[in-house]
């Protein structure tokens, strides 16, 4: 087994999770599961970023005890990115959930195929 | 300004006419076209006056010469107009044919609806055609060429029946397809030589041609593409579909003049842009000759078997326009002279024949060839004109067709293209026989319907003598006289064309 495989555990896990989330978002027919997939995908990226920023043996990048030396803290940029990313993904998730509620109220289903079928039927009735 | 006027005037006049009609239509319910049946209205007179003024403007531009640069599309591609002798020849021919057909159309359109719309587009098209003739470079020519397709479409669509729309679609798709085939060539040439303005004799030298590997392919694409309008095989299919459904004056100019726009485009590309020296003796020349000869033969053959009169004439156009293309493909001065004189002659002849067909439809309503028996008793004078035009088309001296065909045949023999050069006169001869075969029986049946004809059929069809109205008859007579006069005194025309030929080769 390659030694680098053991060194980059977080990255590997995040890639696997990204794949899982991506596949769920792409292939699952259930809207709720799609949204879960999206969240898994986003979280995997945050894990990846957090792992990139982390430096063994250093502290949180918050000024403590007046230590100004940068070598005492981990890289703060990825943490900032993760925070921003979380905000973005929360709003996207909220929008998706709102849309899902709308669709459920209208078609009484969470299955995208089922929704499409009901939609076609509804349109034919109108004609 | 003098160059611009003959292009702008008819377009402006046509647009104004269309706008005026639109306003009229929204004000009163009845279409004004159907109002004055048979009477000549003020609108008709304005229309004729506009056409006459156009002819004057074109002749003035041809006499005055000059050039104008309109604008630049990109750094190298500009739009501009320039008067030269080849352009003048085509432009004057176009405007004269347009005027004569226009006079005829006033009478013809009394039997159709939406006459004003026809007038409007008819005026616009002549401006666009003059634009093609006076174009200073390939891009301008292409712009006007596309505009011609679009503006002449309403003429084909005029009756708006299902057949007309289908024919219009076919016309459109053939034209657009051909134009885009040509566009490929234009893009290539623009890439190779940058400046696309026309110079007599072409812009390419042998070295430049050697440096452009796809040049011949591009030229061939343009020949096939622009050949569409001239009805050259394999994209000839629109002609026999579009002509019968259009009103007769429209088919007359489609056949007599608009096919010549395709010829004009090819003259410009081969003799004014690429240069005959580059193309002579290449596969492009042979392929072009073969295509033209095939079309000549095929067109005559199909015309011979066709029963609908206007369709027969349309197939005849397919064949005759390819006489011109064959002459151009020879790339020697004699062939070139034959081609351009044939442009003039065929234009006059075919316009005359179609106007005659239109007169027959208006007066008797007959559309098929076998209905035309005994026509000589209804309209002897018109049939006499038809006879003259037919003889000219077949190429019997002293009528005009003989002169051009003589040049074509000698040019073919002198072209140095081997077997193809010898095959040329043979095909031309066979086609002339076929032409006689499909045109003359109408005349013979018309004057001498035979013993069994009298009696019953006359009673049924009401064969009383009834020449078409003067408005219809005059253009036919003038054109028929022109075919004879041009045949008897071809000297000035041939000299003029030979001067162009000397300049380009």
């Amino acid at each position: 087994m390659s030694p680098t495989l053991m060194l980059n555990l977080e990255e590997e896990v995040s890639m696997v999770l990204f794949g899982v989330g991506f596949t769920m978002l792409l292939l699952h027919r259930n809207l709720i599961k799609k949204i879960m997939g999206m969240n898994i995908m986003d979280t995997a990226i945050y894990l990846f970023l957090a792992a990139k920023g982390y430096i063994e043996g250093r502290g949180v990048p918050i000024l403590t005890d007046g230590v100004q030396d940068a070598s005492a803290y981990i890289n703060p940029v990825p943490s900032g990115l993760v925070l921003t990313g979380i905000v973005v993904s929360v709003s996207t998730t909220a929008l998706m959930l709102a849309l899902t509620i709308r669709l459920y109220e209208r078609y009484h289903s969470l299955d995208l195929d089922q929704i499409l079928i009901s939609m076609k039927m509804e349109e034919e009735e109108q004609l | 300004m003098r160059v611009l006027l003959p292009v702008l005037w008819p377009i402006a006049a046509g647009a104004a006419l269309l706008a005026y009609t639109g306003i009229c239509n929204s004000k009163k319910k009845a279409s004004p076209g159907t109002a004055g049946h048979g009477r000549i209205t003020a609108l008709d007179l304005i229309y004729i006056a506009a056409l006459a003024l156009e002819t004057v403007l074109v002749i003035a531009a041809a006499a005055g010469g000059g050039s104008v640069r309109l604008l630049s599309l990109t750094d190298t591609l500009t739009l501009g107009l320039r008067v030269d002798s080849a352009g003048s020849l085509f432009a004057v021919l176009t405007s004269v044919m347009w005027l004569l057909t226009g006079i005829h159309s006033v009478a013809y359109m009394k039997h159709e609806e939406w006459a004003e719309r026809f007038y409007g587009f008819y005026l616009i098209v002549v401006g666009v055609l003059v634009g093609i003739d006076y174009a200073a470079d390939l891009v301008t020519l292409y712009v006007f060429y596309e505009m011609m397709t679009l503006t002449s479409l309403p003429l084909v669509l005029h009756e708006l029946t299902k057949e007309a729309v289908q024919a219009g679609l076919k016309y459109l798709f053939y034209s657009v397809g051909g134009a885009f085939l040509a566009l490929f060539g234009i893009f290539y040439l623009a890439n190779v030589c940058g400046d696309l303005s026309f110079t007599a004799g072409g812009r390419f030298t042998a070295e430049m041609a050697a440096g452009a590997p796809l040049l011949l392919t591009a030229v061939f694409c343009m020949i096939v593409g622009f050949g569409t309008k001239a009805g050259m095989f394999p994209l000839h299919g629109w002609l026999p579909i579009a002509h019968p459904v259009a009103p007769a004056p429209a088919s007359a100019v489609l056949s007599g003049v608009i096919t010549k726009a395709g010829v004009m485009a090819l003259v410009r590309i081969v003799y004014f842009l690429v240069g005959p020296d580059v193309l002579r003796g290449t596969w492009v020349q042979s392929a072009w000759m073969v295509l033209a000869l095939m079309t000549v033969f095929m067109g005559s053959m199909l015309a011979y078997r066709e029963n609908v009169f206007k369709k027969r004439l349309a197939y005849s156009t397919v064949s005759q326009a390819s006489y011109v293309l064959f002459g151009l493909s020879l790339m020697n001065p004699v062939g070139f002279t034959g081609a351009l004189t044939h442009v003039v002659f065929h234009s006059a002849i075919k316009t005359c024949l179609f106007l005659f067909a239109g007169a027959v439809i208006v007066v008797t309503g007959w559309k098929k060839v076998d209905q035309l028996r005994g026509l000589g008793r209804v309209m002897p004078l018109a049939l006499a004109c038809y006879t003259m035009a037919s003889l000219a088309l077949i190429g019997i001296p002293p009528f005009s067709g003989f002169v051009s065909k003589w040049y074509l045949a000698t040019g073919s023999l002198a072209s140095g293209t081997g077997a193809l050069g010898f095959a040329g006169p043979v095909v031309l001869l066979i086609s002339a026989l076929l032409t006689a075969g499909y045109l003359l029986p109408i005349m013979i049946q018309g004057y001498f319907p035979g013993q069994d004809f009298d009696g019953k059929e006359i009673g049924e069809r009401g064969l009383t003598k009834k020449e078409p109205s003067l408005l219809m008859l005059v253009p036919i007579v003038v054109l028929a006289a022109a075919t004879l006069l041009l045949g008897c005194f071809p000297g000035p025309l041939v000299a003029f064309v030979e001067k162009i030929a000397a300049a380009v080769m």
Partner: protein, 531 residues
């Protein structure tokens, strides 16, 4: 520092704040604010363009007080200014042209939401154009997605809801890929700002280290943005999305939003990866291949449609294919052609969407070819607008589309390996374009049988929506050119705002077609500044 240099930042912030302010305003006021914001940002973009043209160079603008490797930056050059200007103009005309229909399609209580979405869309597009920071780009990509989704679902029909959820799903996939791509880039280069990242990437390439991650980054970012802009195999959300949104939304989404992502991708290639490296990677070839496939597929599907909106939408699929084909050529000329096509297609497609609505309105809100027969007589201006748009799409000389085709063809001659495929693809797709657009045009200009027009019943003209649609179906008024009737129908369908929009769009098309040279040289200069 000149005051003008603040303008990119101002325009982003103005658009964003007008969105925030609009949330407490009524629909009418929100509309006024939105139109004002678009106008102001467009004028500001014009100043930026003029400034960059005068100084002949681009500049970066530091946001906050952190210098280059840490802070956030905006960058403006000729290309950015030009794109922002044209996007602003198209946005303005789309909003103005669709005013009446927005009023009809969107619930009164939700009017202000629509304009908030428009403001956010504008702000995110401007940010995508101007930003020099990849993570900022990601954030605005998401804002753009959310705003786009909001625009789609505004009309609240079943179709638009499902279209919105599909759009969201596809967009989330795209954004996820984009985000992982830039995380990986941050991993290998340690940079998120474009210019330092480019230096780092250049070092990596010289080293020969991290070759595979770099390839993965290019692939993931390209695919992500391709999904979001609807390149061929990922296009299936396009027809429903563009087909069932309100006209303004369709025009903006099709004309601008997908182009914003493409612009970002071009920036990514130029400003981060470097054109040389991008041209050498096989990703470019994949984009080229899918672009060509999209041109064919989109055109073929468009021919099969009988519904005008779907036909226009599928034509968008084909046009996106053109742009990717240009990018895929991997040459400077190809890129210029692609960028010019972004502009020309933006102007043309928005014109088609806006003017086609004018035609539906005089045909009883129906969109199939049969119902539209002869509608160009009933609504002449919309007919003329549609004609110009269709001819430009087909590549009629003197219009924008012709110059695009000319540029594509010229650039094809410069890349010998892809020349033949490009030319054949151009020729075939042009002919296919001609078939479906001209077929529809003839239908539009063809009176119905025996010269009678299908006139919508009066009820239908005043009230929009589905009931009126049902009532009016099949109502015929046999009188040809029914004088005052047709006039008032056209007047009802063409509010003056729409007339102005259509006329301006036509003029814009003519400008792009006739005076393309300055624009093309500006694009060339702008790309050189990207360098």
């Amino acid at each position: 520092m000149s005051f003008v240099q603040n303008f990119p930042f101002f325009s982003i912030i103005i658009a964003m704040f007008s969105g925030i302010v609009s949330s407490v305003l009524s629909g009418k006021k929100a509309r006024a604010v939105s139109i004002a914001a678009i106008t102001v940002t467009t004028v500001l973009s014009a100043f930026v363009l003029a400034f960059c043209l005068r100084t002949g160079q681009s500049y970066t603008y530091m946001m906050g007080h952190f210098p280059a490797p840490w802070g956030n930056e905006i960058r403006a050059g000729v290309l950015e200014g030009l794109t922002a200007l044209l996007f602003g103009v198209v946005m303005f005309l789309s909003v103005v042209g669709g005013l009446r229909y927005t009023e009809e399609d969107v619930e009164p209580s939700k009017q202000n939401l629509f304009y908030i979405m428009i403001d956010l869309m504008l702000s995110s597009l401007l940010a995508l154009i101007y930003t020099n920071d990849l993570f900022t780009a990601y954030v605005f990509v998401e804002i753009n997605t959310i705003a786009g989704c909001g625009l789609i679902m505004m009309s609240q029909t079943g179709r638009s809801l499902t279209a919105a959820i599909r759009y969201m799903v596809m967009s989330s996939l795209g954004s996820g890929l984009f985000l992982i791509g830039l995380s990986l880039l941050y991993d290998v280069s340690g940079q998120l700002l474009m210019s330092p990242a480019k230096e780092a990437v250049a070092r990596i390439v010289v080293d020969g280290s991290y070759q595979i991650p770099l390839l993965v980054i290019v692939a993931v970012v390209s695919v992500g943005l391709a999904i979001k802009s609807g390149l061929f195999p990922f296009h299936y959300w396009i027809p429903d999305t563009y087909g069932y949104a309100t006209p303004t939304a369709s025009a903006v989404l099709s004309g601008l939003v997908s182009k914003g992502y493409i612009f970002l991708l071009i920036k990514f290639f130029y400003r981060v990866i470097g054109t040389e490296n991008a041209a050498h990677s096989h990703i470019i070839n994949a984009l080229f291949f899918f672009g060509v496939a999209g041109m064919m597929f989109g055109s073929l599907r468009a021919i099969m449609q009988t519904d005008t909106r779907k036909m226009i939408a599928y034509s968008s699929v084909a046009q996106i294919g053109y742009i990717y084909m240009g990018i895929g050529l991997g040459t400077q000329a190809g890129m210029i052609a692609a960028i010019f096509h972004i502009f020309s297609h933006g102007a043309t497609k928005a014109l088609l969407f806006i003017s086609s609505v004018g035609l539906y309105k005089v045909s009883g809100d129906r969109t199939d070819f049969l119902a539209l027969r002869g509608s160009a007589y009933r609504n002449r201006l919309a007919g003329a607008g549609f004609l110009v748009g269709a001819l430009s799409m087909v590549g009629f000389p003197m219009l924008a589309g012709f110059i695009s085709k000319l540029l594509f063809a010229t650039s094809a001659f410069a890349s010998p390996h892809k020349m033949l495929i490009t030319l054949i693809a151009l020729a075939v797709s042009t002919v296919l374009n001609a078939i479906y657009f001209l077929r529809l045009m003839i239908g539009l200009y063809r009176p119905t049988k025996s010269g009678s027009f299908v006139e919508p019943a009066p009820a239908e003209r005043t009230g929009g929506g589905e009931e009126a649609d049902r009532k009016g179906r099949g109502a015929k008024q046999a009188e040809k050119g029914a004088g005052p009737g047709s006039g008032s129908a056209a007047a009802a369908a063409n509010p003056w705002t729409m007339r102005i929009a259509i006329v301006c769009f036509i003029i814009l098309n003519l400008i792009l077609g006739l005076f393309s040279q300055p624009i093309v040289s500006a694009i060339t200069d702008g790309l050189a500044m990207f360098g």
